[in-house]
Amino acid sequence: MGIEVRNLAVARGGVTVLHGLSFAVPPGKALVLRGPNGSGKTTLLRTLAGLQPATSGEIAMPADAVAYAGHSDGLKATLTVSENLAFWAAIYGGPSIEDAIRALDLATLVRRRAGELSAGQKRRLGLARLLVTGRPLWLLDEPTVSLDASAVALFAGVVRSHLAAGGVAIVATHVDLGLPEAEVLDLDPFRVRVLARDGFDEAFA
């Protein structure tokens, strides 16, 4: 249930941002994507998730394997924590929500409305959704935003047990996840360079 990418090019807003990208992540492994802002981490993850087509190249992975977690958590403010999770569990037909609640330490919050949670608690709820999907391939876009150190450690443990069960995780992040075993892929060499327009600014100087 791994993923293999061959010679992939992805575009954002019609402009190719990454090209010639090849990597493979076997089951049980994690890949950390690094690169400066605008280097195409989110675009790559959205392409892998099937939300947008690749400009060229191939993505080989099993069908219906992806669980995507983007910048937004997809939470409904007027539903409670357990209602939010139960909805996604029903959509994916995944495992029960109790394990996910326990894994991300949400037990004391289950009856609270998602709108009343702090940013970090919302993020934990958004990440708990990954567990109820029951899908093997996690695509995570900056999963640790607004998490404190202990929550990051908690999340690293969740990812590690997912990998131990034969899952795959591709994570775009700037912070240290505490997953030293994860392979790191720097996207910088694959960026499409925009030719510097020298002289343009001088004309207006």
Binding site: D64, A67, Y68, G74, L75, T78, L79, I91, Y92
Partner: protein
């Protein structure tokens, strides 16, 4: 899919969900028109079918941009698009949910408002029949328009402009059913056309809307 329907209904019922917005608009219109037009019962009775249908149509229009915009804002639409449910089914379920919280209550409320507008009593049944056959079109066509405009800021105006021309046949046939019902004329043809438009829209537009969503999510 049932989970999605139940979630949408639950969201609509909770605070800020928008349930009742269309109903309140419909009610206000039916209360204000007699005050504006005057107490002449024959005039009111003659314009009642048109007023009720225009009111139902505009009441539906009010909540259309919420069908996908809210899910797009909080990221759920991305997640639904990567979920095991096909996007066509998501569109169909969301249109159904929209109809259940706007079209259906409007239909049930309409006979009561018919009294306020001095609608001929023989037309009440036909009013309900025309609305029950016609309002699904309003939700499905509306879901298609909402899918086309989902990523746009202040897409509501464009949405209304896109959707209103598509509402015109439903409005014409719907009013015609009620008018003919009030005058005791044969009304099989407009009623059948009303139902045909609804069925055609339900069969085709979820696919078009899903294609529009896929483009807008890129």
């Amino acid at each position: 899919m049932r989970a999605l329907l139940l979630r949408d209904l639950r969201l609509a019922m909770r605070t800020g969900g928008g349930f009742g917005l269309g109903l309140a608009f419909f009610l206000l219109l039916a209360v204000l028109v007699p005050l504006g037009v005057g107490a002449d019962g024959t005039v009111l009775g003659r314009i009642a079918p048109g007023i009720l249908w225009v009111g139902a149509l505009l009441a539906c229009l009010l909540s259309l941009d919420r069908i996908f915009a809210l899910d797009h804002e909080d990221g759920s639409l991305d997640l639904l698009a990567t979920s095991p449910i096909p996007l066509e089914a998501v569109v169909a379920v969301k249109a159904l949910a929209h109809w259940l919280v706007t079209g259906l209550p409007l239909t049930l409320l309409a006979p009561g408002l018919g009294i306020l507008l001095n609608l001929d009593p023989s037309a009440y049944g036909w009013l309900v029949a025309s609305l029950i056959l016609g309002t699904p079109t309003l939700s499905i066509v509306g879901a298609f328009g909402a899918a086309l405009t989902v990523g746009l800021r202040r897409g509501g105006l464009l949405l209304s402009l896109l959707v209103l021309p598509l509402y015109v046949p439903t409005l014409i046939f719907g009013t015609e059913v009620v008018r003919r019902g009030a005058e005791g004329m044969a009304l099989g043809t407009p009623l059948a056309l009303l139902a045909a438009i609804s069925l055609g829209a339900a069969a085709l537009l979820p696919f078009a809307a899903a294609a529009a969503l896929r483009v807008n999510l890129r």
